[in-house]
Symmetry: C3
Subunit: 314 residues, 3 copies
């Protein structure tokens, strides 16, 4: 793969194709923001006078709040626009929305959309820097960056690690962004789950191994990344029941010990306790789930700050 189509310095639409050299500056800046945040002295002027619009076509209180906090801590004017998808189901209308945002002199546009590629489409029409906050089953780049940052804080590096991504991998934009990032940074990635959720064909993504057996998949890994099982998977017949899923693919104490001692346990939240993860594992000392959220704000500050500096004035 040649240069990234998804990161140009100006937009962050996905991590596919990004190199370690492109990813690391985000992690480094985020690390310094995490330190400032802990000491409660955020630099308030990096985005002073800039307008950040959170354009959410899908509701997500957690992600929206994280970006809102990141923007406000950097001094931006933050506007939330939650749009029911029903009124924008035609591509034309999405482009009219882009024109409106340009006219409002939006500097940074954070987009969450149910359709893969919607942020990329917008980025070709708006003057603002676009950050993909999750699009369909495509990517969720800031989630993978915060995951990487959390791992790096605990294990020092991503190089040479083995990371198991478990559960509903096939439908997951979080998984997809993590696969791109982790392989770029030199980790080995295992995708672990039932064949209905982790098709064998995913092995062709490159640098990933597919496991349909949890015990084999978790053996000797450095990081266990669990994913939220969406309830609609059961309705669609991909999973027999929550209880069955937990029995065969839930991360519990018995399986946790198969991984390396002190392997990290991660989850992008919100968790279904007792479905993809046992409660005692989620709350164990190996869990870094809460730290992921904390790193989320720091990573988003870093992304907003860096993209903002790269912006070509309109």
């Amino acid at each position: 793969m040649a240069d990234s189509q998804l990161y140009s310095g100006r937009h962050l639409l996905g991590l596919e194709g990004m190199t370690a050299a492109q990813i690391e500056p985000f992690l480094d800046l985020a690390a310094s923001y995490a330190l400032l945040s802990r000491s409660r002295t955020p630099p308030r002027d990096a985005l002073r006078g800039r307008t950040l619009i959170n354009l959410f076509f899908e509701d997500s209180t957690r992600t929206r709040t994280s970006f809102e906090l990141a923007g406000k801590r950097l001094g931006a004017d933050v506007i939330n626009m939650t749009v029911a998808t029903s009124s924008v189901n035609k591509g034309e209308t999405l482009l009219d929305t882009a024109a409106t945002l340009n006219a409002m002199r939006c500097d940074l546009l954070v987009v969450r959309h149910a359709q893969s590629g919607a942020p990329a489409l917008l980025s070709r029409k708006v003057e603002a820097s676009v950050v993909n906050a999750g699009d369909g089953m495509h990517e969720h780049p800031t989630q993978a960056l915060l995951d990487a940052m959390t791992i790096r804080r605990h294990l020092g590096t991503l190089r040479g690690l083995t990371v198991a991504i478990c559960g509903d991998v096939g439908h997951s934009r979080v998984a997809r962004s993590n696969i791109h990032l982790l392989t770029a940074m030199g980790s080995k990635v295992r995708l672990v789950g039932p064949p209905t959720l982790v098709p064998a064909a995913m092995a062709s993504l490159g640098n990933v191994e597919v496991f349909h057996d949890m015990e084999a998949g978790l053996r000797d890994v450095d990081v266990i990344m669990t994913l939220r099982l969406q309830r609609e998977r059961m309705g669609a017949g991909l999973v027999p029941s929550a209880r069955e899923f937990f029995r065969f693919y839930g991360v519990d104490r018995r399986r946790l010990v198969l991984a390396k001692p002190n392997a990290l346990v991660m989850h992008p939240g919100p968790m279904n306790r007792g479905v993809e993860i046992a409660s005692d594992v989620a709350d164990s000392t190996q869990s870094v789930i809460q730290e992921q959220v904390e790193m989320g704000v720091a990573v988003r500050m870093a992304v907003l700050d860096r993209l903002s500096r790269m912006r070509v004035p309109a």
Copy 2:
């Protein structure tokens, strides 16, 4: 008509009765805000310490966002209150809302309401300056101001122009505010649409001509202002179908050439492409639709700033 009942220096409830001498200072201040906004150096302290409440009884993401941006760029504390009309359908309750706003020391109150006259009613009870952000079928003054500003930027003046307002004129608060403003500023106004939407009696509004034939109505005009056709007009039997409407009253290339060369094409948004306006006309070089949105923020900054200066301290 004598002096305006709707503009007193303190409130902007509508444009009816305002003179050119009263309107022009808003356009002039907005022009300077538009310049500042383009250079991305907004003056941040005009409304520092002031509280702006966006009180929306009808949902409108675009207008609410425009006022929110205007307020934040001037340094105000902006609070959004979206109120379901169901809980305020008694006049009494509207007055209790006014009392609450006074008690909260609201300085600037932006009101959108489905009932004509609701902002005027509130303005008699609140200490804040009230800006009408659209009330029923009555007025939407900031929309007409931003339309005027957009025209003035392109054609230099409003005096002596001929402006065709096309489509669902009879139900439109945007049309009504534009009629008041344009005639006050010395433009000639044509109202163009089917008899069900543009009753012949509207000619009695003064200084306006009614056309039921699009070709005649657009001939040699300087500005074509299209209006959004609400879907409920079809349900009510006022319009046979969207396709029929476009055939007889849509602004397309074929009709555009009837107007003056370089006539401006305007729309208050959001557009129904292929209903009241053809897509290629909306995107043509004669279209200033995106600029209208941009001027919207500048005009609202000017309105908030000027009303705020006129406020008698409580």
Copy 3:
């Protein structure tokens, strides 16, 4: 009762068990904020750089707006999180929410929840200072503080007063917080309403008298505090009809004269005029209902400011 379990200097979860010496500093600071607010010169830096999250599991525009204004006037970054209760009906999830808020470095957390005790549960898990903005039928401490402040401004003291709390007392968190505060401050409290809404057993709360007859209950009181009658009380058969309720328990002119001359009339809002209170009484010179709202912002500024100073840095 020994020391308060609900106020520790760091959280304000309720007023039960608080002493006059603990309550008065809030009223004193609020009084100074009320003065500043009237002169429109709020001190903007008390919460500069702090993050205030309004976490509302029940919708309440008025209370949310009041806390949002209080936070913004003190310079805090204010984030609104409105959460549908459906997605958080398991206690586990509430704790995961707490973990998320910690990770986001929330300093002040304002919580409204349909379940009594939810703010207390959160306060044991979050690093932020928690303010109870109303929990189930338990408490609503800032409402009682603003009521107390309003009384003190008019009558000079709370000591030795007789206060009648009228109507749906049994289900009311406002009543419960007021009972705790008023008795702590040396007022005598009467609970007045039908046996279905004011069970005789409430007399055992200590320092309160129960009246089922309005005329007897209002005789010679200094303050009449009316409560909103929720419509569901009629559905549940506790009240025959709004009209019947007004006839037997509504505060009208005829009953107002039974109280002391210049007795204060109060209501936490929003009012059902003609149900628990007659319109002319609500708008009479004895009514301080609007002032209650004004004091609401001042009291919340005082609470946020004081709790913020007490916070142990994380």
